[in-house]
Symmetry: C3
Subunit: 176 residues, 3 copies
Amino acid sequence: MKNIYIGIVVASDRASQGEYEDLSGHAIIDTLKEYLQSEFTPIYRVIPDEQKEIEATLQQLADINKCCLIVTTGGTGPALRDVTPEATENVCERMLPGFGELMRQVSLQYVPTAILSRQTAGIRGQALIVNLPGKPKSIRECLDAVFPAIPYCIDLIEGPYLECNEAVIKAFRPKK
Amino acid sequence: MKNIYIGIVVASDRASQGEYEDLSGHAIIDTLKEYLQSEFTPIYRVIPDEQKEIEATLQQLADINKCCLIVTTGGTGPALRDVTPEATENVCERMLPGFGELMRQVSLQYVPTAILSRQTAGIRGQALIVNLPGKPKSIRECLDAVFPAIPYCIDLIEGPYLECNEAVIKAFRPKK
Amino acid sequence: MKNIYIGIVVASDRASQGEYEDLSGHAIIDTLKEYLQSEFTPIYRVIPDEQKEIEATLQQLADINKCCLIVTTGGTGPALRDVTPEATENVCERMLPGFGELMRQVSLQYVPTAILSRQTAGIRGQALIVNLPGKPKSIRECLDAVFPAIPYCIDLIEGPYLECNEAVIKAFRPKK
């Protein structure tokens, strides 16, 4: 059985300078622990909103640390310092527009400003990279919506087999 | 307090040649006057469906006229002369796919051909550019759906503060 | 009256090597025969998941065979051999993101893994190219959703006039 490594990337100028404590990255790790029955090792990074640095971090987590899943938080809005989607697109070989569409649709049920999010997802080698919003509450809403598709996606890119805690979330794998 | 300039660009071969009177651009101005409590100066342009000319007009409205918001109407279909989304993408530094997704979803409630629209939105400097459909009825449906997110978007790109007429439309600004 | 040619492209390594019989392409032809009152000639191709070969096939069907509509099946997932959307984008002059958005939304009603599909659509010259999923059941769900917009789209790119069997599916053409 393959080891499961999951990267968590917090893109935030202020958190990376210690101006405030990151809550979002920890919220993601807690949620993943609730979701997954499989043991996994989280690899956690807090970095500034610099496109080159986000790209280098994503590449390292995918290529060197062999993460099958990398989730980012922060940097997906319309402001000048928001560059996470650009970094994601630059390091991915193929994009999965359905993730962003569904996350915006879900967030729209709560706030009309959901359309300002540029969240996306894509594949780099054997890693699925998914952008999440910055706020813990929105993170959970988005993860609940897209996670059921993630284990099968990782099967398709020949990553490790993720088993979910079915009382919390149901992974969907189509019958062959 | 900053002055508020809003660009309205009508892309239409026939309207620009005087073959018929533009209704769509005027419908947009009327709607914006209903929406906004803040005083604003509309800057109105009627131009042919030429990509280079649309690009130059958008650039001028953003960079020279300092519009914080530019709305276009027309030229978003699948026909050969429909080039407004291409022009928009070429002059924007970042795209906001959520606008197009939501506008198509709203229009789909009325007509199945809504999926033929290639409407998009993006940011150029301190201007938000939004493509609207060509027909006054669809314009209003789309604006009603996306406008609640626009004042906050303009806050995020450091433009002027837009105040809405809350009896007509509610701008949403998340609490810090 | 123009002759109507419709291309059906099955992208599948295994079906193209005769490892199994293609069901999806035939399901598409059957569905189109149900939909269309107009006579049409299907042009059917089964090819491997090779991007260059898919591109060449789409180009030939559009430019040489004068298909007004080309539908593909297969190759739209996240796996390495899934390259149909890339091939489609490479040969199209303009993309129609609304098709993919609607098809994913419809498929989401059945399976949460619908967000893994990268299906898209676009225009090459006077041909509309639409990616469909690989499985016959999903094909029908997607076609039922997007087909009502297809005859008008083909009008707009100056193709032949498609008449639908209204008891099965209703094409929508806006009144001028």
